[in-house]
Symmetry: C2
Subunit: 345 residues, 2 copies
């Protein structure tokens, strides 16, 4: 029979997937047992220098690549991690995904991505299908009930992003600090009445943001109303804008930038002057927030760093502490300005 598994100069244009080189092939070629090859490659000090050299040379020459699936079985670990996000098309998640992918990849792990589309059922589905495949989960903005999370934690390690549950390592952006800054900013501009355009009620961040906003508003003697909930998409910004405007508030704070940008677009189309008649602010500082019209005042957070942190936590790196809160700072742009009443004294 012909050679096979040479350094890959064979041309197999139509052929089915050529069988990969296995430990057995290398062992046969090197004249040793498979176990020896296995050790020579993954546990080098366990085998004599002479054989080690020879085996490694043969393996290199034959272009041997361990089969990760086969490794995973006896090891019980797959070196794969899952990242579940609620909306893969939300730019907010891009940075998270990239940070996580980079960090996982640096640690020799593969990242499996899942899009839960904001549905707890789909999320639960994904978790089930993945739990025999991955060593751990990153659940970003998870909408799973606490009980389900607890149960999952029994089988796999889990890290939460932008959600806090007792007993879970998590990374969150400082929504309450951000909210405080929003309120202070609006208060300083003379706003006395704010409308919060809420996100999905099962989104953890929605509750946190609302509570922080309302408590700080109360402290500052500012009226605040919660409107919605609205789907956090640009499209649904239209409804939100109309509802917000009719509430009579002079400032609209949206659950996130997707919604805020939608609001901005709607207001522009309706001919409402921003920030002349009404100010708008959001959360996340997503791609586009800096060049929409007018540029959006929003709470920014180091999301790529969050992606890395979340993987570190999952991998049990000492450097990452369980309850990491990433700083979130208000970035003031042109969508917020003095309250209308104060401009006409």
């Amino acid at each position: 029979m012909g050679h096979k598994g040479l350094t890959a100069d064979e041309t197999v244009p139509a052929g089915g997937p050529a069988r990969a080189v296995t430990l057995h092939d290398v062992a046969r070629e090197a004249g040793v047992a498979v176990s020896t090859v296995s050790r020579a490659l993954s546990n080098p000090e366990r085998v004599g220098a002479r054989t080690r050299e020879r085996v490694q040379a043969v393996a290199r020459r034959m272009d041997y690549r361990p089969n990760r699936i086969a490794q995973a079985l006896p090891r019980g670990r797959t070196q794969m991690l899952a990242l579940l996000v609620s909306d893969i098309t939300n730019p907010h998640n891009f940075g998270l995904v990239r940070g996580a992918e980079a960090q996982a990849s640096a640690a020799g792990f593969l990242l499996v991505l899942g899009d839960t589309q904001g549905s707890p059922e789909l999320e639960s589905d994904h978790v089930c299908r993945l739990s025999s495949v991955v060593d751990g989960f990153v659940l970003a903005s998870s909408r799973l009930p606490d009980a389900d999370l607890l149960q999952l934690q029994g089988r796999r390690s889990v890290v939460l992003f932008n959600r806090e549950v007792d007993g879970f390592p998590s990374v969150v952006t400082d929504s309450v600090g951000g909210s405080r800054q929003i309120v202070e900013h609006l208060a300083a501009l003379g706003h006395r009445s704010i409308a919060y355009l809420a996100g999905p009620s099962d989104a953890w961040a929605d509750g946190v943001r609302w509570r922080a906003l309302s408590s700080h508003a109360e402290d500052a003697g500012i009226e605040i109303a919660r409107l919605g909930p609205f789907s956090p998409t640009v499209d649904h910004g239209s409804v939100a804008a109309d509802v917000g405007l009719s509430s009579g508030a002079t400032a609209l704070v949206a659950f996130n930038d997707l919604l805020a940008i939608g609001v901005l677009r709607r207001l522009e189309r309706r001919g409402v002057d921003v920030p002349g008649e009404v100010s708008v602010a959001g959360y996340d500082d997503i791609f586009g927030s800096d060049f929409c019209h007018p540029p959006l005042t929003t709470v920014t957070s180091p999301v790529e760093q969050a992606g890395r942190a979340v993987i570190d936590l999952l991998l049990g790196a000492r450097s990452a502490r369980p309850g990491l809160v990433l700083p979130a700072d208000l970035r003031v742009r042109e969508s917020s300005g003095p309250a209308p009443s104060t401009t006409i004294p």
Copy 2:
């Protein structure tokens, strides 16, 4: 020892990952052989009705979930697919990822995501690490040399997105049609000199777009220059804008929208009137192209559909033909207008 693997009402707060229920457990409980359980679940007509019922009931009661890794070994297929993109933070890819994830997931496949950061080495790296794990690859905007692709195809099935190589199934957006429409549009507005702000020279789409633009420009008797290459990011739009402007062209066509948006931002900051002094156009119609300032004239394409198509192709669905070209249409917005010389006759 206590029960284990019951329907999951056990609370293991601190415990290590509880061992999962296996075929053996079910077999023992049901008093049959493992092979019978296996068949009862995945090949039901192969086993008698009475036993089948019983086994299935036991499996359900014990909450048995097949271990995908263990299944993959004898089957030789993992039911996982890889999607490699050159830049996960490019909004253009969001739709692709979502479409692909949805379609894969619908077919019972898992999607492994890789970010190659535009580097052929990183791409090759990912491919190696993934090839024992996934059943197939989607390479989006791959920068791998043809030879490497051919070699990979020998081991795994491969589908290309936005790149065409002989012998490979691929999905591309109709860059040449889009380019024609750009040139026609600009010509109709009186432009006589265009600058193409090129992307990375190893990007397949860059070559296609440039050739299509220049050939149609020639046909229309329009001057066209290729400037760059530029990194296709918003940040590098600044350089591109300056270079483009100094070329004296009245219209700038950017390699993609990321670059185009960067150009727009730079021009606005420099006080250059768009489209009064210069028109700008791009490709992809990404998130943000419709609300940047001014809204960008660009070539749009059904990218989520592309994501689905690419998976269909990989899975060998009959419905998807090997050389799929998705329509790309020019979306005219405010960033393009009459050439300056024609407005002052």
